[in-house]
C-alpha cells in the first residue's frame, strides 16, 4: 500500500485514521486572560488557533454603535507561516476575498447564536490568529470562537461546533486534513448544539447531489462529538475555577 493513498482498501487514511475518526482535539480555555475578556487555544489535528474575544465593551467608533444589540466583529489573521510553505504574498492577507468571505460567514453564524440583544450599544470584537493550518480550518475557527465566547461569559443559545467532511469516491471521511482536502470534495458544517440544525454549510467542490445527505449525516454526528469534547474540556476548566472560587 502506498504511503500516499488517500484511503486504503483496508480502510485507513493517510494519517492512520478510520473514515469516521476525528483528529486529535485539544483545547484550553482562558489562555490569554490579560489580553482579552475571553480566550481559547485550539489544536484540531495540526490546526493551531488562538481566539481572543474582547468585549462586550464601549465601541470606539460611532458607526459600530447599535442601539438594539451588540455589534459583532470578527477578524481572522492567517499568519504567513501557518502553512508548510510560507505564504509568498507580499501584501496583507487580511484583505483577501477568501478571508473576507470567511469573516462574514463567521459573523453571520455567531450573530444568530450569541444573544447580542442583551448587550446594546456595545461591541464584541473577536480576533483570531491561525498559527498553523492543516485542513478544515473554517470548522476549527468556529470551535475556537465558541469556546472563547463562552469564556468571555457572553450569553449564547448553544454550542456551535464545526467540522469538515470529505467525500472519497463514495466514502465520507470525517474531519479532513489538508492533504485530504486537496484530494477530494469537502463539506464544512457548523452545527448547533446536539441538534440537526445547521448554522453554516459550505460545499466548495463538486459532489453528487445524491451523496450529500449521507455526508451531512456523518458531519452532524462528528460535530456532535466535537461539541462533547468541547463540553468536557469546558467542564474540566469550570470545575477548577469553581474550586478556586470556593477559596474566596
Amino acid at each position: 500500500m502506498s504511503q500516499f493513498e488517500v484511503y486504503s482498501p483496508e480502510g485507513l487514511r493517510m494519517d492512520g485514521r478510520r473514515w469516521n475518526e476525528l483528529r486529535r482535539f485539544e483545547t484550553s480555555i482562558n489562555t490569554h486572560s490579560h489580553a482579552a475578556d475571553g480566550s481559547s487555544y485550539l489544536e484540531q489535528g495540526n490546526n493551531k488557533i488562538i481566539t481572543l474575544v474582547k468585549g462586550p465593551t464601549e465601541p470606539a467608533l460611532r458607526s459600530q454603535l447599535d442601539q438594539t444589540k451588540a455589534t459583532l466583529s470578527i477578524s481572522v489573521n492567517v499568519t504567513k507561516f501557518s502553512k508548510f510553505e510560507r505564504s509568498k504574498s507580499t501584501g496583507n492577507t487580511k484583505n483577501e476575498r477568501r478571508i473576507l468571505e470567511m469573516q462574514t460567514a463567521l459573523v453571520r453564524t455567531f450573530e444568530k447564536n450569541l444573544m447580542l440583544n442583551l448587550y446594546p450599544r456595545t461591541i464584541i470584537d473577536i480576533e483570531i490568529h491561525v498559527l498553523q493550518q492543516d485542513g478544515g480550518i473554517l470548522g476549527s475557527l468556529i470551535n475556537g470562537i465558541t469556546l472563547a465566547c463562552i469564556d468571555a461569559g457572553i450569553a449564547m443559545y448553544d454550542y456551535i461546533s464545526g467540522v469538515s467532511i470529505g467525500l472519497y469516491d463514495t466514502t465520507p471521511l470525517l474531519d479532513v486534513n489538508s492533504l485530504e482536502e486537496a484530494a477530494m470534495s469537502c463539506v464544512t458544517l457548523g452545527v448547533v448544539g446536539k441538534s440537526e440544525k445547521l448554522s453554516l454549510l459550505q460545499v466548495e467542490d463538486k459532489i453528487p447531489l445524491d451523496r450529500l445527505e449521507n455526508v451531512l449525516a456523518i458531519g452532524i454526528a462528528g460535530a456532535h462529538r466535537i461539541r462533547d469534547l468541547m463540553d468536557t474540556a469546558l467542564r474540566a476548566h469550570a470545575e477548577k475555577r469553581v474550586l478556586n472560587a470556593s477559596k474566596r
Binding site: 490569554h32 486572560s33 495540526n46 499568519t79 504567513k80 507561516f81 490568529h129 498559527l131 498553523q132
Partner: protein
Amino acid sequence: MTLSVAEKSYLYDSLASTPSVRPDGRHQHQFRPIEIYTDFLPSSNGSSRIIASDGSECIVSVKAKVVDHSLDSDLLQVEIDIAGERDDSLITESCTSLFNKVLRSIDTKKLQLTKKYSFKLFIDVLVLSSNSYPVSLISFGIYSALNSTALPKLVSNFDDLEVEELPMFHDYDLVPLEVNAPLVFVLAVVKNNIFIDPAANESEVANNGLIVSWSDGKVIAPIRTIALNETNTKGFNPQLIQQGIKLVDQYAEEIAKALTNL
C-alpha cells in the same frame, strides 16, 4: 494608556527620586518574569512564544528556504505583524526596520550550504498583545526561536559550482542552527535615572527611552532613543546613555543565559 495627572506625578516622583522606587518594587536592572515556549510549530523550522507577566505576548516562527545566494544575498528576513496595528503603521514599520538592521550582526556564513546555495531564514513575528514598546519582547522571541531552529542536514557535496544540482538533504536528521542572535533592550530615562524593561505605566512617565542592542558579549549598533510617550518626552543627560550601555553590558549575558537554558 491614559493616566491621571496625580498618578503620573506620583510615578514620576517615585522613579526620579534617589534611590528610586519602581511601581512594582523592581531594581533598576530587573526584568519582569517571562514565560517561553519553543518549538511548538512542527511546520516551521523554529518557533517560540514569549509571554510577559503583564500579558504581552509574541509568537515567532522561523522558516528556512534554499536560495541561490548569488541571486539573493539577504539571508535573513524579518516581518513583524502587531495585532491591532496596520502593516504600514509607524510602530510596525519601525520595529521591522530595526530588526532587519539588528539581525545583520548574525554571521550568515552559518546558513551557507554549498558554494552556490544557502538557507534563507524567514522570521515572522506576531505580536498578539503588547502594553509597552514591544521590541524587547520581540528580540527575546527571535532569540529563542533561532535557538530552537533546526535545519535539514546536507548530504550532497559542498562544492557544487560545476554541477547543476540542488542541494540534497538527509531524510530526517536535523542540525541545530547555532547563531548568536542579538538581543534588544528598552530602557526608560526618568530624570537622572535609567531603568531596564519599563512597564507600561513607567513608560508613560519616562522622559525618554533608549534602545540598546547587544550580541555575543558586547553592545552593538543600533543604539537609539525612542519616545515612549507623547507627553513627558524631553532631552536627557548624555551620561545616561553610558549608564544604559553599562547596565546592558553588565546584565545582558545573564539574560542570554536565562533565555538559552531551556
